[in-house]
Amino acid sequence: MEAERLMKAERQGQDGGEVTDERLLKTGCHAAALAVRSARVDVVAAYPITPQSSVVETISAMVEEGDLECRFLPVEGEHSALAACAGAIAAGARVFTATASQGLLYMHEVLHMVGGGRLPMVMANVNRAVFPPWALLVDHQDSLSQRDTGWLQIYVASVQEIYNAILQGFYITQEAQLPVMVNFDGFILSHCASGVMVPAQEVVDAFLPPYEPLWKLDPAAPSSFANVTATEYYGKHRAMLQRAQQEAKPIFKEAAARYRDHTGMWDGDVLDLYRTEDAEVFVISMGSMAAEVKLGVDDLRSRGIKAGAVRIRVYRPFPAEDLVQVLPDGSTAVVLERNYSFGMNSGILAVELKSALYGQKNVCIHDRVMGIGGEDLTWRYMARVVEDAITGKEATPWQPE
């Protein structure tokens, strides 16, 4: 019952258009691979890593079986994977890769190259804790550590949204000329099988026209990419990158509206709001936990606490203005987040929320780091943490239910 209502809440805005599409039972990893096929990607260069492996394994099999006309490059590591992607984009291809955790950290240098180089591509990052000690399950330390590389970042909350966000990502990356990282929670979403609506190919093609690069490396008209440059040029390029991030926000909204017009599905705005209209307590989070916490909000409301949920769906560019709009003066925000900002005695999201609201809105902000290394987060637990935070109790110790 609750799950059904939750699904409805997540799909609000869906106009239930004509069903010419397929509904398949797919894991998150498979949904990502299906989105790559739907987007008619030209080049995939990747290296497998848990829990992402079945994304690239599935793509590899699609290519092998002739199901996807694409050049698949199995390289020797993630640094090479993204470097190969960069070359392919510069040559004018539509490009995708997928990684997780250590693989993303290993890519860090090339993330700057692709972001700073304004190379359009989509990457799926399956969020997984970073070592040491080794851990396989989800938290958001890997991708949040890549915050300042110039990539747009989306965090999704359902298997369907993985598919939708990757397809929208290809539209966004072309329009913004910035790479898009679609993050989804390891195992919770990557290995969770659910119904995935895959629109007919002609519907996707209408949404996402063939890729036409603004520029490409061409031996017939020689040019060089990212050559050494003088200080005054370099500064301009970095300033343009900053500006492009800020100006990408309307493109997310445009892509979502366009996607809804073509597919009838809605996954889109930079924030996903739940019962926030009259709320006094705002529960702010990202990823899959931000879906389940909606049930926690219902629970808090049933006990007289006027709670609402804010899912930060687009993390870069940070939706500062949107949050200022949503959070009224005198309200309380409880940030629940799967990461640490070491040395700040906080999580990264709370630091950024405070920065966004500073001088704009007077909001009491509590921060609770939780779900590290895959600790299971139930709505009951999250609701209790929120209640304890606003009533001034000590942080609730986590324990399995």
């Binding site: 000329q177 520029w215 040019s223 301009k236 343009m240 500006r243 492009a244 100006e247």
Partner: protein, 309 residues
């Protein structure tokens, strides 16, 4: 505080010259600072190294905009840029051998006041101070600068021995010759007083450096709807985009077609691609005189000839 700016071409040793001066001054109990500025780190390109000498701790970290002393290692430097901000009683020390035979422009001649000079090129050659075909003109120049700054011949020797503990004999000889042979010291201002003076903060600093965006870009790059300017770090090769690099040259390669075997190694190795493959003619408008072709030529058919000869 005294500020010095040394101008030269990449590979001529402006940084080493500054460090030799700094070591000697440090040993004299002064606060010292060297500030190399390499530009594009391209051998032969115009480079500069600034330095500061003071009796007080030096807090400034920015570039030197109002030098008391200019040291010019070679000609072919744009006189306007080189002279920029020179103190009104400033001193210009030039490597005499390299002044103006070719460009017809003598930077020092445009500057009133004290303009000493020294034949650093000739001294380095005479002392057999030559590395990979290039005379080390910075060493005799160090001797000349030392004379200006009141560094003793003993301190000059110690600096060189500190820098090159093994085999410094030729360098010491060249530096001391520079010290002795520098001419035109009449009217030399009191350097020690400048060093002892409080830092003179420049009143005008060129904060806004004009930037010329490349002119020939594909229309698609301009069409980026987000920024309205070319956002991609893409460059398109254009001949002479760095200016006439031939003006950087102190020596020019000349191919002896009688002994040349047409092996084309010079054509392969030339970093500026100025050797014509079919005729082996050299485009002297852009040849920067690095001498790589002469170094690589197995038939020894390429000679480096001093400009002006």
């Amino acid at each position: 505080m005294l500020e010095i700016r040394i101008h030269g071409h990449g590979g001529q040793g402006t940084v080493t010259l500054a460090e030799l001066i700094a070591y000697a001054q440090m040993k004299m109990g002064r606060h010292v600072q060297t500030l190399p500025f390499f530009g594009m780190e391209r051998r032969g390109a115009p480079v500069k190294t600034a330095m500061r000498l003071s009796d007080e701790e030096i807090l400034l970290k920015s570039q030197v905009y109002k030098p008391h002393v200019l040291v010019l290692l070679s000609e072919g430097l744009e006189s306007g840029a080189v002279q920029q901000g020179l103190h009104k009683q400033g001193v210009v020390l030039v490597n005499r051998a390299c002044v103006a035979e070719r460009s017809g422009e003598n930077v020092a001649a445009n500057v009133p006041g004290c303009n000493p000079s020294v034949d650093a090129w000739g001294i380095a050659r005479a002392c057999e101070l030559v590395l990979m075909g290039q005379p080390l003109i910075n060493v005799p120049m160090f001797g000349a600068v030392s004379r200006l700054l009141g560094i003793s011949p003993q301190a000059v020797t110690e600096s060189i021995e500190y820098k090159w503990p093994a085999g410094s004999e030729a360098s010491v000889r060249a530096a001391l010759r520079g010290y002795e042979e520098v001419q035109g010291l009449e009217g030399l201002p009191d350097m020690a007083r400048w060093i002892g003076d409080a830092a003179e903060l420049p009143t005008e600093i060129p904060m806004e450096i004009p930037v010329e965006l490349p002119t020939e870009l594909p229309a698609a790059l301009k069409a980026n709807r987000i920024t309205g300017v070319p956002a991609h770090p893409v460059s398109f090769p254009q001949k002479g985009v760095s200016g006439q690099t031939g003006t950087w040259r102190l020596e020019r390669p000349v191919i002896n077609k009688d002994t040349c075997t047409s092996c084309l190694l010079c054509w392969v190795f030339c970093p500026e691609a100025v050797i014509e493959k079919e005729t082996l003619d050299i485009d002297y408008t852009y040849c920067k005189g690095c001498g790589v072709c002469a170094e690589e030529c197995p038939a020894k058919a390429i000679n480096m000839i001093r400009e002006g000869e």
